[in-house]
Amino acid sequence: MGTISQFCHEQGRSFLEAQRLTKTYQVGGSTVYALRDVDFTAAQGDFVVINGPSGSGKTTFLNLISAIDRPTEGEVVVEGVSTNTLNEKQLAQLRKEKIGLIFQTFNLIPVLSAAENAEYPLLLQKLSKSERAKRVDAILGEVGLRDLARRRPNELSGGQRQRIAIARALITQPKLVLADEPTANLDSETGAQVMNLMRTLNEEHCVVFIVVTHDPAVTQYARRQIRIHDGCLQEGGAHDVVDTASQPAA
């Protein structure tokens, strides 16, 4: 198994920074800290796994760095631009162009086929039909679901659905992919397949992956492991990646 530098020539360049990130909620007149003074940096080619117990602030952290929620204090900087300075439309633009999202419950659109679900972000980017078709074909090939392109989500297994969700997240060639408990609804074997796929895509596309999970099995895929506890981040250090038989060589 190779290291990230073999696959990503831009390795080490900072892509995302979170500075003194704090998120509070008002509950019954008192302030509850979901995140407290969190500093975090992700560089090109990173594969970061963030784990922690339920309610520790993992999802809140993911929501803030994916620009779907705003911090109470602190800021998230993506490629040098603070998301605090962006309005709703600009945040949507940022998510559309630079961030891919993978959800625990897949969140596929039930009325669209597998291929159409993967194609959706390209519709937002107003790409031509031929360009969309080319990219959908390529990404479905990468996630191994070309044969199931016409099936609706309810005709797919959990693992297949998550692969489609990964295809949807990657089809716009984002620089950052955020995954929230991507294996939570999958059995261990399918979960391993999905994680292997994500690692492969991380290496091939030089995409930053930040995976939030409380599944210990996912940790072995991390290059960096971070633990969140009571809203505070604890860096777990660099990690040698798991060498799985199913992971293709570069």
Binding site: N63, I68, D69, L94, P110, V111, L112, Y120
Partner: protein, 403 residues
Amino acid sequence: MTWWIPLRSLLRNRRRTLLSVAIIALGTAISLFVYGFLEDSRLQIQAAAVNEYGNLQLASADLFDDTADGYDYLIDPEREAQVRNLLSQHAAVTGITTQLQFPGLIASGKQTQVVRVTAQVPGNSVLNADKLVFKGRPLDETDVASILMGRSLADRLGLHVDDVVTLTLTTVNGAYNATPLRIVGIYKFTSEQVELQTLFMPQSFAQLLLGTRGVERLIVGLESISATDDAKEAIVSQLDRASIELDVRTWFELSAIYQQLSGFFDLLFGFLTLAVFILVFFIILQVLTLAFLERTREIGTLRALGTTRSEVFRQLLIESAWLALIGSAAGVLTGVLMGWGFNALGIEWQPPGTVETSVLAVRLGLLTAAPPFLVGVVSTLLSAVFPAIQTSGIRVVDALRVN
């Protein structure tokens, strides 16, 4: 964004969509049916008004406004010829005739009755009572001392064709005149009042009785009712240029009954439209609010993927537009089928104050379908605006938390 994603979204819950379509269709169909019925009635009254007044009438303003002193309003033969010459230059004019009316008293045995004599040129193509005659015969150019009497008056006085009555009148010079008149025909009309009060007589004989060569008005027939206003405008300017002081009135201006009924029909349709609008609006508002609410998480996903609030709003509105179009089209189809069925029944009724039955019918066509279709579309679209704003405006992070 695309049009087909909203369409597919619409079809995901077919039972609910079917219910929504049925509600919109029902509202549209009822609206079309009633509107078609009112339009048919309106057109029947319009045709009757044109039959009664012609398309246009030219006369002294004093006559129209009922402010004339004696017979000052009469148009002499030279002026009549001049006006006829002007009118004949107008392409839309298909015929011109004249008319003379005067009050009188008829006596038959021991009974007398106040009447209004309408003197016409027999056989003219614009306005005559020929079509109304159902017993005896119409008036003829050669007729002298002959009249057509209304069915109701003949029944009241116990008179028949070929019976003779005596008419007493005042001439244009103020002298009394009396003449025997033979009933050559009995006519029927939609209005009982007209049948009781109006006698028809050849104009030439009426002029003889009144002691004048003048007529009170010229009546103009046009190629179509829709040409009336343009023709009036052109004729008024022709008369102005020729310095002829005659007023021009359209059938619409002359027919008070048409104006009243038309206004009543508009009011009736307005109320119905409002009722249908409110019904469709509130029911579809409920249905769409629920439908959009159920998809909060999905919409949160779309927003998280980079779809803007306005794009989501537009998608929801396109979805509602599909619903509106399908529902309203189904409503038009249902309304047309209901109309055909109703028309096939051939139901007759006798409107109050009339002596003739008429067939109740629903007018079906593009023009009668358009307003109900629009009511269906607009009410559905408006009902979608609030839930679409509410759903598209939800915070992404909150939407994603919804199960």
